[in-house]
Symmetry: C2
Subunit: 411 residues, 2 copies
């Protein structure tokens, strides 16, 4: 008699990407204490919260100090003042109708995209793009929906859909049957956005093949080009087959404040083993009420203020600032003769390494020779090998300085 | 080909306890619009956050509006400023040594107690007291660690340990082998606290039987009597066999602010199928970094301020206030000739219904005749049948008014 661990955890690769990056950067810093390292690795924002957000946030905190206005437990699904505001601004304005109980407020799109698999059976086949945000895969490994990792760097039982320069980073539709398809557009890490007609193909595929799309739209605020949907529900028929994830992290700077939401339309259904259909909305609601306790009230008030005209203006200025950095990075790398992708509808720039160098070698080269930290593409999946991700979230000064240093290298 | 749901969700009882209470209260209110209903059901606090907490909370929000002090992603496990403060105040002061990486900051003890089962294999046998906080059981049902619910109101495959007046609400040690034992003391819902020697028996049992105790100490701030441990680690040897859950909800009024923590000592181990031992601390860390994104920075600063002398004083005053309410409830119900438990080291009063009335009948009687809302004991498990839980979190005025109304009933 002895307690057993969840052995699926043993299938996980031992080192998480960003932990390995930290380790190498720390080692370099220790050996080179005078080096001014510029971090363009982790996708974390640097601009402060908008003034209108700070004002609402502070006011809500003050409410918590007063008996008459104090707020205790809120609804696990989030307050209607925030949900209504989200529906009005992000959806109704784009012709998408949602009911209040189709939107669930949470503390992170990371948590939502990691937790969503819990409402599905273990016998579903998942499909991910390659490269991919590691959380989609790891959460399924931990749940037992995969086999072990192969020499190819792929987990057994998972369908990987390569996104490389060869297909313009738009993966082909799966050739073998899949159930749950994780899509993130604008994409992390490649920075690619999907045009409406391209995303429509996925919705059509899901409808025809009884699959469900788990659509991560965390980077929608960076879309600058026309004809790129900000929500998957802009595609006709998507409400039958798609769950959408959003976050306040990358638009409003909430990476340290924590607020996100997930949309689960009531018409998205899945079946039990007898073929009876069930609403995923009800299952997600049950999960939410049982395993979650709602987002901090002041944080929800802060998130509501993201939609004020004043905050919207400030947010757009911040995004323009980051996109200007992206342009600088893109241009600098292109001037070096490198193939560069993303950076137009995305804060991410996806760089092909010079002379088929592998991702970690290029990472080490930039760290050691230019003291610039990127993210090795291979960390996002085997098809990311030979690429490096740079982010536009640093300051303009640091971005320029980093590019100047890199331009002096002979690549 | 069609997406399959997690069928374990179908095993769950359809109506969550508090949803059913809300339904009955709303129906009563609609039919009796003039009735002044006093809610003593859900365990939610009413006193505002302490002034020192509000101050720190507001200051941290202001930091988020300034480029120089803005905070992006923090460590998923929580900031060291908060963890250090917790260890110093809650543990070191009681002779318990903990390393900084043995404490994980989270947004809710509800989430932690629901999520902890994920790091364990599905073949572990869980044991819960009966009555019990429903989240412990439901999270295991959803994960697939149980069979279906029986006519007895118990899930197949779960070991229930009755806590009733007959055993002074101290359950007997399990007679059949169990792996994971959920204990909550001071107990929700019975209000019972365990003396050191009684808790020591559980630690001894776990050590001798290779079991692990999941110890929910969310109500430790209400302990008033001597010789009642505030942490399970006050028991020698507990660090080898126990994980402890704490929260800022019930002491500092964080039910709407959201902050909690879990302690996973590095020496707590479990085995894989080949008998190799693994640190649960490492597994929980892996779960935390993959499926969680940390607690809001301003909320963590607010939680840190809970430990200032000024806040501690205010918190103690609030707890004394709630405990005075508890005493009033206890005395009033006893004067009515009812058997009453809890309310001394706990904000919960556990009342035996008069004349063996069932829980829901007594609930309806109090709602209809006194317009007072309690929580039916049977909602916490079959051994809660014939009991009702009242909470001390309302105002003194409402508590007195409620007791006055009830005292006029002929029970």
């Amino acid at each position: 008699m002895s307690v057993k661990i969840n052995e699926n955890y043993l299938l996980l690769e031992s080192s998480y990407l960003f932990a390995e990056i930290s380790r190498r950067v720390e080692k370099f810093q220790t050996e080179n204490p005078d080096a001014q390292v510029i971090k363009m690795g982790i996708g974390d924002v640097t601009k402060p919260l908008p003034k209108a957000v700070i004002k609402a946030f502070n006011e809500a905190v003050t409410e918590m100090g007063n008996s008459e206005t104090f707020m205790g437990y809120g609804p696990e699904q989030g307050y209607s003042f925030l949900i209504d505001t989200i529906i009005e601004n992000d959806y109704k304005s784009r012709g998408i109708e949602l009911d209040i109980d189709e939107v669930f407020i949470s503390d992170a799109a990371k948590c939502d995209t990691a937790n969503i698999q819990e409402i599905f059976g273990l016998d579903n086949v998942i499909a991910v793009t390659d490269p991919v945000y590691p959380v989609y895969v790891d959460s399924n490994v931990m749940a037992g929906r995969t086999g072990s990792i192969q020499d190819s760097g792929r987990y057994e039982g998972v369908v990987y859909m390569p996104s490389t320069a060869e297909n313009n980073f738009i993966p082909e539709l799966p050739k073998s049957p899949v159930d749950l398809i994780y899509l993130c557009f604008p994409n992390n890490p490649t920075g690619t956005a999907l045009k409406k007609e391209d995303l429509a193909k996925w919705v059509e595929y899901a409808r025809e093949n009884d699959a469900i799309i788990l659509f991560d739209a965390a980077y929608e605020a960076y879309i600058t080009e026309d004809d790129i949907p900000r929500s998957i529900y802009e595609i006709e028929g998507a409400k039958d087959v798609a769950i959408e994830f959003r976050s306040f992290s990358k638009n409003a700077g909430f990476t340290g404040t924590r607020c996100a939401f997930v949309v689960v339309p009531k018409q998205v259904k899945a079946v039990d083993s007898e073929g009876n259909k069930h609403d995923l909305n009800s299952l997600w609601n049950r999960r939410t009420t049982t395993k979650f306790n709602g987002v901090s009230y002041p944080v929800q008030k802060a998130a509501e203020a993201v939609y004020t005209d004043e905050a919207k203006k400030e947010i757009q200025e911040n995004i323009d600032y980051y996109l200007e950095n992206a342009k600088i990075i893109k241009n600098s790398m292109e001037e070096l003769g490198l193939d560069v992708y993303g950076g137009v509808n995305s804060p991410y720039i996806w760089v092909k390494t010079p002379e088929n160098m592998d991702s970690w070698s290029f990472f080490d080269l930039l760290l050691e020779e230019a003291n610039v930290v990127g993210t090795p593409g291979v960390g996002f999946g085997p098809s990311g090998e030979g690429y490096l991700r740079l982010t536009a979230f640093n300051t303009l000064e640091n971005t320029k300085e980093a590019m100047e240093r890199i331009s002096k290298l002979s690549l």
